[in-house]
Symmetry: C2
Subunit: 226 residues, 2 copies
DNA sequence: TTGCGTATTGACCATACGGTCAATAGCATG
DNA sequence: CATGCTATTGACCGTATGGTCAATACGCAA
């Protein structure tokens, strides 16, 4: 009713913000994307719902039309950002023929390549470290979907190397060896998280050292030094 | 003046909270301790000044008598919690005689022992990962006081091993080799941060695998397999 | 063109939090 | 016991934030 009194053509009076109706299937990922940026930059506690809304170019209230609370949005963001991370690597690895040590080198190369780019994964990793004990689902996800799968991949490769005679037989049965094998990549990722791209140890050099140390450590020895 | 009207013996009326005056030298570390607990548990953004006050058993306002702001308290907390971390290890290492590989094993054992206990250091590490880009001082500290010193220690040891003929000559000059050598301990620490004591890879097993892989990777080979 | 379902807004609320400050009381000194 | 310094309190403030809701207008279907 009031609005009848102000039919002026200028934008000010009721100032209905440009409103573009979107289907939920289109709006949801948009919000999730904005939320990811906000959470990645500020952490869970520091993130503001208004910030998410601004990034998405919508009103804050609309978020609550799609997600019931901040924590729900956080979990949803995390699940969404957590796409099929390993399928590609898993598929790729075992098609490469040749000596197992070359396959292992290839696998490690893929891992470092991801670390080098993959801004997204790094932000996700930071969130896991920072919020894991407040959101157990993050920890569960990392254990089941990241660490276990990566370790499984490496473990299979170690077995293959032993079978082919390239690696020392002991490496097939040593517990946590797979974790030790991939640890330098994880550490490199963490260092880069803390120190930033410019101050962290150079990933290429780390990869080279890692690979050298690793292959020398796994290989059968002509005459076991005692 | 008003209090003259209510000289009742019961605790309620003016209810001056039990007030114990403390010298600043005694109060300051108390506040810092409480702040550390609060920041460690909630992160910077999630921590509340009132929470710090409660933990310290004081009024919130008193904190501002000692620290001008939340961020100043955070930095001070960090500096205080960051005591002489490496002196002991550095002093200890080079007195041990014997083969360099035994010294290296000893060094690594010390590192894992710290990781296993050292709840404090782990919380500090989490804060670094979570807040490093908002507080550059944390990153600077980690680089200069932790990573550089640890890498220097390892690097010196690698040189010694080459000099004594135990290690392959190449290891003395490979960039980032020191970082690769100590990486599994770092990764183990991160895994324990994310997954907790019970779900993380077992530190003892990781240490054993790490050491085995490392010493095999560094040792001179009887006949270099090509 | 009309009508309807709902995506979207913006104003609003209660609260929580960082920070301030005048008043107060513990303690050392004389 | 009186005095002064300051450590300590608790009430207070402005703001920012998570969350709510009635009103609104977009776009589809009839």
């Amino acid at each position: 009713m009031v609005q009848h009194e102000i039919p002026s053509r200028d934008e000010t009076p009721p100032r209905t913000g440009a409103r573009r109706r979107l289907a939920p299937e289109a709006r949801t990922p948009q919000i999730l994307e904005a939320a990811f940026a906000e959470f990645a930059e500020r952490g869970y506690a520091g993130a503001r719902m208004a910030g998410v809304a601004t990034r998405a170019g919508i009103a804050k209230g609309l978020i609550y039309h799609y997600f019931p609370s901040k924590s729900a949005l956080f979990l949803a963001t995390f699940r969404a950002a957590t796409g099929p991370a390993f399928e590609a690597a898993e598929r790729r690895i075992f098609v490469t023929g040749g000596p197992v040590r070359a396959m292992l080198a290839d696998l490690i190369g893929v891992a470092y390549a991801r670390l080098r780019e993959a801004e997204r994964e790094r932000a996700l990793f930071r969130l896991m470290v920072a919020e894991a004990d407040r959101f157990p689902e993050l920890a569960r996800f990392y254990r089941e979907e990241v660490l276990s799968r990566a370790a499984g991949l490496v473990h299979a490769m170690l077995h293959a190397g032993v079978a082919s005679g390239e690696f020392r037989p002991e490496v097939a049965e040593m517990p946590c060896l797979a974790e030790a094998v991939m640890a330098p990549a994880v550490a490199g990722s963490v260092w880069r998280l803390i120190l930033g791209k410019d101050d962290a140890p150079d990933l290429a050099a780390l990869q080279a050292a890692h690979l050298d140390l690793l292959l020398a450590g796994l290989a059968v020895r002509q005459a076991p030094a005692r």
